[in-house]
Structures are given as C-alpha cells and as structure tokens.
Symmetry: C2
Subunit: 397 residues, 2 copies
C-alpha cells in the first residue's frame, strides 16, 4: 500500500459514490406491517383528504358559532336540539341558526355547523332544548376535512426511511402496501489462516472469526440482507472462488482480514481479477482502518476491510454504511449526541480519527470520556457508548 495513494474519508466517499452512481437496487411491493425501517421507493401522494370530513375533537354540540356569541352562565343562549350524529356514520342533519346537534368525539360535523360546544358548557332543558353557557369560536373543537393531509399532497418522499409515524401516515391514506427499495444484499467473507468459526474450538495460534458475526450484525442494522457469509483461508484461488459466488448474489461484498502484507495482496489480486474496474482506493486516511481497499468487480462494490474487528467496524460505519444509504437514496440521519469531552484527544496527523467514548452525566451535562485500548480489541467497542469523529485538520469548536 503506497502512502501517497491514501485518500481522505471524504475523497474515498466521493470516488465510491461516483463509481456506483445510478446503481439500481430495484424495488419490491411490501405490506405495511413489514415496512418499518425500510426506505420508500416511491413518492406518496395523498389520493384523499385526511380526515375525509369535518370532525369533532370533543363530545359536544355542533352549532353555528354566531349563535353562541355573548353567552355566559348569566345569559345562556337557548338552542333547539335538532338531532344526534352517530359515530362512524355520515349525517344528513343540517344545522340552522338556533339549532344544535349532539356529536361524539370523532363524529362528523353536520352541515351548517362551524364549531362544537363542549358538553361541559351545555345544559339540557327538557327534551329538545339546550342552554349554552360559553361562546365558541368558529372551528373550535373541529378538525376540518384535509386538515391533517390534503388530497394531492406529496406526503412522503422517495428515500424516506419509514418510522412508526410514517407507517401511521400510510395507514391513514389507505395504503396497505408500498413500494420500497430492495434491501442491499451484502456478502461477508472473513479471511485468514488463523481465523476459525466461533462455533468450533480454537487452537493455540488461532483466533475466532469476530468480523463475520459483527459485520453481519452491522449489515442487518443498516437495513441489508446478508446474502452469505464465508471463512476463507489465505489462498488466492479460494478467495477468488468465494468472491465469484458472492458477486453473483450480492450488491456489496466485504472481505475482511488481510492485515499482513501477503494477505492484503490476495484480497487486492482477487478484486482485480475481473474485467473492468478493479480496485480504485488503496488506503484511506482513517484511524483505525487505514489499510482499506475498495474496488468494483462485475459492477458490484467490493471492500477489503482491515482484519482487526474494531477497524473493520469503524470502516463499515464511516464508509460502507454511507454507500448503503446512498444506494437507497436514504437521508436518514445518524444518531448523535452532543457531549463535552472530558479529556483532550487529537486526531492522528492527516487521518480522520475515530475515538471510542463512554458517556456519563454530571451536573446536568453530558460528558464523553475516551476509552483507550489496543487496536483490535473487541471489548473496547463493547465498553464504549459510541465514538467521536475527529477530523484530520484543526477545527474550531
């Protein structure tokens, strides 16, 4: 890896976006119950008003507001009870001046009425007469037709990640299914003669495959489908054969491992063994995670991630995840928190540095304490609540 080929995180992202510009994940039609956390493929245009009629927000009496003006406990207005609106049904009632109709919460406002007087301020006098003890303003206690969503409105946009409230909006609009971006398919290959699966025993000199499981979890968390997972020894033939299988059924392939020079060579050679693009990033100015290579093979994105679990996971978050979101045009924001670093930490010269931190609260402020540990320590990540990204240049805070 040539030091002079190392690019910044921003440059890396720009090159990657450019190479996969227009990559089509395609869409699938999904039931609303399965759509949580997925990304909309289509703009959602309301085909109706929500609500579809003027609705009362209280139990009360629909009236003409002008009939209530000046009414008080000392001078109540007298109104004739013209009928009742039944819940969930349309009403033929029409309110004229001097009349009122009972409406339950959520019930339809009858024609002629422009507000609802709360039941608390009305007294029944005999069978069909009411006294009203407070004035009501026009539209008081009423949600009008289309107040929530208007017919023709572009309510949700392509690229929107669906939270429970968007699921609610789609239900309100009567969309039992929606077009969603297909989940990106990620194939995860761990390499290394020393790596064995977590399920088996571990001999002296061997370590368990952490990256396979951790990257799988990150991929799922990022909204992907894991199309396959494999553990490959340090052999160009084996790696090439696995990559063949992976490219067939995936949008993105992650090859992790290869921290020693020989191993890195295999990864790069395998990525360059296809006609066309091959590798186009050879090292990223990121700490941890510098020995990251990125290429294009058979039109798919292939990442050569560092073998150290912490580095692999950081590069996933800083680089791979961004491509995943880009592919589905998702603008979902990252979760972040504002905290005060309780110790000075600086970036490695020339490298965007990711410092693990732990959060704690004191005097109503949130503080972040750096968690230090040697490269590759998985327990370090688990102890941390998150990380701080320190840019590779000085920035005023």
């Amino acid at each position: 890896m040539d030091f002079f080929n190392v690019v910044t995180v921003q440059e890396a992202l720009e090159r990657i976006y450019e190479k996969f510009e227009g990559y089509e994940l395609g869409y699938e039609e999904c039931q609303l119950s399965q759509a949580l956390g997925r990304v909309l493929y289509e703009d959602i245009i309301a085909m109706e008003d929500v609500p579809g009629f003027d609705r009362s927000t209280v139990d009360g009496y629909a009236i003409k507001s002008s009939d209530s003006h000046g009414s008080s406990d000392f001078m109540p207005s007298f109104l004739e009870l013209a009928g009742s609106v039944r819940m969930g049904e349309s009403t033929d009632l029409s309110i004229k001046s001097g009349q009122a109709a009972y409406v339950p919460t959520g019930g339809m406002l009858p024609e002629g009425a422009d507000c609802v007087a709360m039941i608390e301020y009305v007294q029944k006098v005999g069978e069909s007469m009411l006294t009203l003890h407070r004035p009501a303003a026009p539209l008081e206690n009423v949600i009008r037709k289309g107040d929530d969503i208007q017919n023709g409105q572009n309510v949700l946009k392509r690229g929107k990640t669906l939270r429970p409230q968007e699921i609610g909006v789609l239900a309100a609009l009567g969309k039992p299914s929606v077009k969603l971006f297909k989940k990106p398919r990620i194939y995860i290959i761990s390499t290394g003669d020393e790596v064995v699966d977590a399920k088996g025993p571990v001999l002296q000199g061997q370590i368990r495959d952490i990256n396979g499981y951790a990257l799988e979890a990150l991929a799922v968390e990022s909204g992907c489908i894991v199309s396959g997972r494999a553990l490959v020894r340090d052999s160009l033939e084996e790696l090439r054969a696995e990559l063949d299988r992976a490219l067939e059924i995936s949008d993105i392939v992650l090859i992790s491992g290869g921290s020693s020079v020989g191993e890195r060579d295999y990864t790069e050679k395998a990525m360059n063994s296809y006609e066309g693009e091959g590798t186009f990033i050879h090292g990223i100015a990121i700490k941890p995670g510098k020995p990251t290579i990125v290429g294009k093979a058979r039109g798919k994105a292939v990442f050569g991630l560092p073998g150290h679990p912490v580095s692999a996971m950081i590069v996933f978050n800083a680089i791979v995840k961004k491509l995943i979101k880009r592919m589905s045009e998702s603008e979902a924001a990252e979760n972040f928190i504002t905290a005060i670093m309780d110790m000075n930490v600086h970036s490695s010269p020339g490298r965007t540095t990711y410092q693990m931190v732990r959060l704690h609260e004191a005097d109503g402020e949130i503080f972040a304490s750096p968690e230090f540990g040697k490269s590759g320590m998985i327990s370090l990540l688990s102890r941390a609540d998150g990380y701080v990204e320190i840019p590779d240049y000085l920035r005023r805070h």
Copy 2:
C-alpha cells in the same frame, strides 16, 4: 375519568412497575446471527482468554527488547534469524538473547520474545542475520493473552441489549448461541364504530385504523412480537371476547380508541371484568394522552390508550415502552439529542407535555423548532424529528 384520580407520569410508572414486579418473560436460546437488538438473559462469563496467546499486531520480528536497546541506523544491533512463525499455528520456537523470529500480523509470539520489531526497522543481512535499527520497548506491537478479555471475566451482563459490538464479543468468546429474554408479546386492539381497516374503502364519517399499524410498528421497534391485531366495534361483548383471546397469548394488550365517554367506559368495563386486579390507573397527567387507563387482567398488563394516533404513540413511548424494557431488565438508553429550542414552549399546567420538534442546524449549533398541529394529526408526527419532554413543574436549564 375523575380529575383527582389522574397521576403523574412518574407515579404511573411506579404503580405499573409495582404491579408487574417479577413478571417472567422467560428466555430462549438463540443463534448469534439472530441476537442483534435482543436482550441478554444471562451474564456472559468468559471461559477463556481473548486472545488466547500473545499476538503480534504488526509484520515484524519477535525479539527480546533488551537486545534492541541503543540500536540505531549508526549502531544497528545484529540478530540471528531463528525461524518464522506461521499464521494460525502454534510455534515451538524459543527466542534466546541475540535471536529473532519472523512473525506476521496476528501471529503468535514465540517463547522468550517480549516484543516485535516492525519489519520497517529491520534489514536482512544474508540468510540468517538481521540488523535492527531502532530500539523496541517491552510489549511493543504485542497484544498479550487475555489483554482483550480475561478468562473468568463477566463480560456482558443480563439485561444488556446486544449491539453489533456485543455480537462481536460473543463471537470472540466462542458463543454460537446465547440465552435471551423472550420478546414481549403485544396484542393490539383498535376500537371505534368509525374505524375501518386501512385496506378497505372509507365512507363518509369513517376513518382508517391508524393506531393498529402505528402501534404495531412501535411494538416491533421496541423489540416485541405482535401476537395479534384486531379491530373491534364499540361493543362491550365484542371487546371482552377479543380481550379474552388477547390475554391468552400476550404479555401486554393495548386497546386504543375510546375518546368519547361511552367508548372509554367499554374499555374500562372490559378490563374490570376479570377476577383480581382490574384497572389501577385512571388518567395520566400527560399531554397529549391524558385519558389513558391501565389495568391488570389475568396477570397481564392492559393499556387503554387514547384514540388519537399522536396521543396513543406518545403514551406508548412514555409509558408502555418503559414497561417493556422493565420486563426484560433492559437498561438500553433512549436516543436523545441536545438542542436549543428556538421558541419558548411551556408545559400544560400540571401535565408532562410532549412537544413535537423539528431539528435544524445553524452556525454549528442544533436548534429545535416546535411543530404545532391539532391533536390527532398523524402528519404532525411524521413532520417531526422527535419530541421534547417538558416536565410538569418549572425546572432551571
């Protein structure tokens, strides 16, 4: 609903926790690949050291650090090459003073060596002689046995929600499966004569069932299984029959709807029709969401949520979700962000108020703007990035 029976959010939570103290969700054994986002039922005790041997973090030469002292380009140390460590294998090599052995990144440190000199600072001189041009300190470029995780250490605690990094830790420890709290089973019942399913047509006076879908999404997001969903008309018999079915197969039942007085009565009557506890909370000082009732039937938690989608969702987050977490002893933190309100907003007197806000950035600061809308507007929630909780008393900021 008697105003004097209304309890604060904190009181409501305390009563609910007390009523369901010791409720047993039970556990299930799960494959590591399926464990993301789930809650650990067991403490995880390391049964081995990670790594299981002293490991090199670089490509280089394992030496005794004392042999390197004082070495420089002008005065290199001369060392005899005693052999090579092969990746993924144990080594019988033993390093004596004056000797060195090649070790790849991740390779096992041979006996006798206490550090690794990076390949960059070593030159080969003939077949079996090296010159070393820099001193190396003890333990330099070495991760020691147990440095990451120590045998016997309680690495993860019961109640921990598993993020990708914890999945990595479990893989490192060779745990292909773990005991997890069973997902709480939630049954969601929407009530109301005016409510129709999102799939069907909507007539004048009717509205679509938003709560069923939105609460389902919230439940799934909170780590639950939705054991069933139903739409019930305003009838005590129908509601009672549905509640019977729900209690059979669920840990928590949500009944939403019932904003009008009559509807609320049905919900409360149905909840109180079982022997034993019945309702124990009749209104919560929360805005929106005051007309919330909570009860216990057949040992299960039953919530009567407001019919307005926004209110129902807020009460879910403020109350129901807390019980869900409590049941699995989860201490996972809520996502929050520190922002500056760009407008003064105060709580409703005596009620914890949830104000929807939208976030925006200006001059490097994050600001929150309140999003206003009438009660029950689902589009309001969708426009918002989140909400601010305003306590029901004055608090200094």
